[in-house]
């Protein structure tokens, strides 16, 4: 069972590496969003410091949805998805492995890039740490929730927009508690632990539920 998970995970990493660009695409999109914000809201350091965590989180949310529509579509097109249905291994496990590989190739680079981009938004040491910690804890939930949308729209040619529309409302709680925890890390007066614990809980709930929901959607093709 574990080995089947590792098999699918490594295969998807391998394919992503051969295609190339999946990490760069997300990070460049992340970078462009964060870069244009100071131009739009004005170069006021205090304002940027205050809204920085929110900007980073919104940018990470949008970047992590980028490319998520291809999560199952590529497999559906080349027939691999039919084979996953026929395998001994539950489809849920394959879904989970694919999500893990997708997170590693497209969301992990965002977490790594966040402190560098945080500097552009006037974030100090504690705030940077807060943003990295909340993104690391919260982005798995974004990928897993997005997987439900990706599974539901797998047969649609231009399913990307519909996928985002389906997934975005479900990611709102993650965004709220992610930003709350990241802002609390910057500001010593508000507690960090409570929103961060809820954020972790949201990720764990997604981990427990989303593979089943996505697999159920894939079975309905």
């Amino acid at each position: 069972m574990t080995s089947a998970f590792v098999l699918v995970f490594l295969r998807d990493l391998h394919v992503a590496r051969r295609i190339g660009g999946s990490a760069t695409m997300g990070v460049v999109f992340f970078l462009s969003l964060v870069t244009i914000v100071p131009f739009a809201v004005g170069p006021d350091p205090d304002l940027l410091a205050r809204i920085g965590p929110a900007i980073l989180w919104i940018a990470a949310l949008l970047s992590s949805l980028l490319g998520l529509d291809r999560l199952f579509q590529a497999d559906a097109e080349d027939g691999s998805l039919d084979q996953f249905h026929l395998a001994h291994t539950p489809l849920e496990l394959a879904v989970l492995a694919k999500c893990a590989a997708h997170w590693t190739t497209s969301s992990l680079p965002l977490v790594v890039a966040a402190p560098v981009l945080g500097l552009m938004l006037q974030q100090d040491g504690a705030a940077l740490l807060g943003v990295v910690a909340t993104l690391a804890a919260g982005t798995p939930a974004l990928t897993l929730i997005g997987a439900i949308g990706a599974a539901a729209t797998v047969t649609l040619r231009r399913g990307g927009l519909l996928m985002a529309l389906l997934a975005l409302p479900l990611t709102i709680p993650v965004l709220i508690f992610g930003v709350a925890a990241a802002s609390a890390a910057a500001d010593a007066t508000t507690p960090f632990a409570a929103p961060f614990a809820i954020l972790c809980a949201l990720s764990l709930i997604s981990l427990a539920l989303c593979p089943f929901a996505a697999a159920a959607a894939l079975r309905q093709l």
Partner: protein, 227 residues
């Protein structure tokens, strides 16, 4: 009729579990239309069935339903004598989409499916290089699938059936894009599979090269049956 399997290729050819695929009054609907009505047939281990019929007669639908990829409206599909009662994990399904990742090499693709689809350690599964040699793909083992021609991709997909033994082969137009020599090799692989006690169900417009295969003719197209 069937040639004995060479023991060098399959040293375990004498292992023949008594297998039986039984399909009774199977009805399948797709998009609100009944595509398959009361299809019934039985196949014992070692037998092959060629499903024929005009385009749109429901050949692909029948195979997808057998593989468990489509919900069935009524009827039963049972594989008796197999390791477990469920059909899907006992079946190989080969259709027009070949399940190969264009970015990976032929050997990497097969390695993945061999490990993912194999039912435990079955001695009837061929090693990857042996399977590739049987389909004359040995020289292309390290080529990315994106570089292969349609016929070569098809052969790589067929090799998947050899590297992970599963008793039931569900083949949708397996001979598409294959040249005469490859068709011969594939017919031989099917004969071997039958000799190992497996069952082959193939939807086809062309002769499969299987002596003793029975036929199931699917009738009218849905458009005709509506009128």
């Amino acid at each position: 009729m069937r040639e004995p399997v060479t023991t060098a290729a399959r040293p375990h050819a004498d292992m023949k579990p008594a297998l039986r695929l039984r399909v009774e009054s199977l009805c399948v609907e797709r998009g609100g239309r009944r595509i398959i009505t009361n299809a019934s047939f039985g196949l014992a281990g070692g037998e092959a069935l060629a499903v024929t019929g005009p385009n749109g007669a429901g050949k692909s639908t029948l195979l997808r339903a057998l593989a468990g990829l489509l919900p069935i409206e009524a009827g039963t599909i049972v594989l008796e004598g197999a390791a477990e009662s469920e059909v899907a994990p006992q079946a190989h399904y080969l259709a027009h989409a070949d399940g190969l990742k264009a970015q990976l090499t032929v050997a990497e693709n097969l390695e993945f499916w061999a490990r993912y689809l194999a039912l435990g350690d079955d001695a009837r599964s061929l090693p990857i290089d042996a399977a590739l040699d049987r389909l004359a793909l040995g020289a292309l083992a390290d080529a990315p699938v994106a570089y292969l021609s349609a016929g070569q991709k098809r052969r790589a997909a067929l090799a998947r059936l050899l590297v992970a033994y599963r008793p039931l082969w569900l083949l949708d137009e397996p001979l598409t894009a294959l040249d005469a020599a490859s068709r011969g090799r594939f017919s031989e692989a099917m004969r071997d599979h039958c000799a190992l006690g497996g069952v082959v169900v193939a939807a086809t417009h062309e002769p499969l090269g299987l002596a003793g295969a029975s036929f199931l003719a699917l009738g009218k197209t849905p458009a005709e049956s509506l009128s």
